[in-house]
Symmetry: C2
Subunit: 204 residues, 2 copies
């Protein structure tokens, strides 16, 4: 009946982890912080929020005082529903973050996963980055093989398309290499806030 999983669930949990929000605000954030890449519609957001509440990962706060800036100007406006992440919701987000899913999940939604790296342990970051890199390298190998086989039969445009595609992938691999190296280098000198131990499970 409700939405099961999907990138939207992940993004909502991730954004609500930073601070509670109502739906409208959430959608705006989805289309700026993350949403340079994709725009979600209300038609998918609100149903998604409902099922997340049903599973106990979010709780609704009709007019509590989660934050002054959110509650204060509520004078006559339609009652906004502010959503807050529960402890189970945090666990679920953690699970999704570190999940080595069925390939397409990680490949298509890498951008969104990366956007939440600030909330991730270095172990997970390394795993995601290296996973992405190895899948791109696989793809590169397939492209090269296919190109070697069919080079003669292809017209100029198709060839140019494949050339540009391969260059883009190669470029991303180099980018990933830099990121991975910088993660490795930062193993000693911390960059920002490094979570000291992932075994800390006490809820706030």
């Amino acid at each position: 009946m409700g939405r099961r999983s999907g990138i939207l669930e992940f993004a909502v949990l991730g954004l609500l982890r930073e601070s509670p929000m109502h739906g409208y605000e959430l959608r705006k954030r989805l289309n700026t912080s993350l949403g340079v890449f994709r725009a979600f519609s209300y038609g998918s957001l609100y149903p998604c929020l409902k099922t997340l509440v049903q599973r106990g990962w979010l709780i609704e706060e009709s007019g509590g005082e989660p934050d002054d800036s959110l509650t204060a100007p509520l004078t006559g406006r339609r009652a906004r529903i502010v959503y807050r992440l529960t402890a189970e919701g945090k666990e679920r987000f953690e699970e999704l973050l570190s999940q080595t899913g069925p390939d397409t999940w990680e490949d298509e939604h890498f951008g969104v996963r990366f956007a939440f790296f600030g909330q991730t342990s270095r172990d997970v970051r390394m795993r995601v980055l290296e996973g992405r890199r190895s899948r791109l390298e696989e793809r590169l190998a397939r492209m090269r093989a296919s190109l070697a086989r069919t080079r003669e039969r292809l017209d100029d445009y198709t060839l140019e398309l494949q050339r540009h595609g391969m260059e883009s992938v190669e470029r991303e691999v180099r980018w990933l290499n830099e990121l991975i190296e910088s993660e490795r280098a930062g193993r000693d000198q911390q960059r920002g806030e490094t979570p000291p131990d992932p075994s800390d499970d006490t809820a706030t």
Copy 2:
């Protein structure tokens, strides 16, 4: 009931324009020539073929002789259904090629459209390339504006993601500029076969 439109229909029409094929072969081509980018499944391909036949854009040929390499080794094998593009199908493909659709169509499936540039008039090519470029430039402007507004509130990873994203888009814009210039330059000296007049509608 059947598939309405979508990129699959477009790709099938485009591939069958080159030469008749049966479903299995079509799927392989979809995953090499075009399909470096995406892989379609039989579960979408065969139903799509059926509705295209229903609309008169394809005709089925059980065991005709469209090509030696296709008919010859059919000794005992399951009877393959070879699909051939009709005159109406060609018109439909032409229509889809030159269509200035509802934005997302052109944006998400640019790669597949580009793959069929060899079968397109230069007018259409220019229109598609310039359309793509202007949409990317719009997006770039939005990204820059959003970045200027929220730079302080973003962590290092989100910032790095946006930086890399913008660089990729800028790179594609430069690529498009080169292509557009080369199209303009080739206005006199022809490159390969230039279709002289698109009003030629006689079927083969």
